[in-house]
Amino acid sequence: MENDAHLKLQAFVDGELPEAEARVVASQLARDADAAALIAEMKFTRHALAGHEKAVRVPESRDFYWSKIRRQIEASEVERPAPVAIPWHAKLRRFLAPATAVAVVAIAGLLATQPVGVVGGTETSLSDSGAFTYRDFSSGTTLVWLSYPAEETLDDED
C-alpha cells in the first residue's frame, strides 16, 4: 500500500473522511486484507490509549506550587485584569490599592536580588519611582512601565 492510502485509512478510523469517501473505504476493506489488518492495528492502538493516560500529579505541595506562580504574577503585574462587569470603577478602585502594595513589594524583592536598576541586561534610571522594567526574552521586547502621567488626559495628545 502507498503512503497516501495508509493516511486515508487512518482518516477513516479517525472519522475525518467525507461521508462518500468513507463509504468507498468501508467497501474496500472487505476485499483488501492488508487494509483491514492495518485498520485493526490502528484501532487497537487507539483503544489502548483511550482513557489510559498515566495520571500524573504535581510533585509539590499546593502552597509551594502556588507560591511560585503568585511571585511571578506579582513581579510581572502591571495591573490586575480589567473588570468585565459594570460598574467597573468602584471595583477597580477597590483592587488598585492592594495591587499597588503588591507591586511595590514585588519591586522591592526584585531590587533586593538584582543590581539596582538593572533587569535582563538593561539599565533604567528613574525619575519616576513607581516605574518598573519587564523583559520578555522570547519576543525580544523590553517594557518600562511608568506611573507617569497617572491620571492626566491624553485626549489632547494629538
Partner: protein
C-alpha cells in the same frame, strides 16, 4: 587632481563608515484600550507585528491604536530627539554596537532613562496608565 581624488575617496569612506554605525529607528505613540474602535478617527489600528509582541507582554489591553509614528536615524555617538506629541518626546543616544540610551520626556521633563542594546527587530516599550482604563505607549523599534 590627485589631491581631489584622495579627498573624494576619504569622504566616501567616512560616509560609508558613518552609515554602518547609524541606527535606523522608528518610534510610535500608541493608545491601548479594550474598546474595539478609537474615538479619534485619525487613529489607525497598530500593525500585526507590534500587536503580536504587545500581546506577549503582561498588559491587559486588547486593542492598540497608532496616534503618531516617526522614523529617524541616530549616528554613532550622536543623539536625536523626536516629538511624538505636545507632551511626549523621546531622545535616543547611539552608544554603538546597537546599544542605546533612551530618555523619555513628559511635558518637557525627563521621566525615565533606559540604557540597553536594541538588536534589529527588537522593541523597547515605554508606557503608562491613562484615564478610563486606557494606556499610552511609546514603542521604539530598531528598523530593518
Amino acid at each position: 587632481m590627485l589631491w581631489m581624488a584622495v579627498l573624494v575617496l576619504c569622504l566616501s569612506m567616512t560616509a560609508g563608515s558613518a552609515q554602518t554605525a547609524t541606527l535606523k529607528l522608528e518610534a510610535q505613540l500608541l493608545w491601548g484600550t479594550n474598546d474595539g474602535t478609537s474615538p479619534n478617527p485619525k487613529h489607525k489600528p497598530v500593525g500585526p507585528e507590534i500587536r503580536k509582541k504587545l500581546k506577549e507582554l503582561p498588559l491587559k489591553w486588547t486593542n492598540y491604536f497608532e496616534e503618531n509614528r516617526k522614523s529617524f536615524d541616530v549616528a554613532e555617538g550622536g543623539a536625536n530627539k523626536v516629538s511624538l506629541s505636545d507632551r511626549c518626546e523621546v531622545e535616543v543616544r547611539n552608544l554603538g554596537g546597537n546599544k542605546i540610551e533612551v530618555t523619555h520626556f513628559g511635558k518637557g521633563e525627563k521621566v525615565v532613562k533606559q540604557t540597553q542594546t536594541l538588536p534589529k527587530g527588537e522593541l523597547l516599550v515605554l508606557g503608562g496608565n491613562a484615564p478610563n482604563s486606557t494606556a499610552w505607549l511609546v514603542v521604539l523599534k530598531h528598523a530593518e
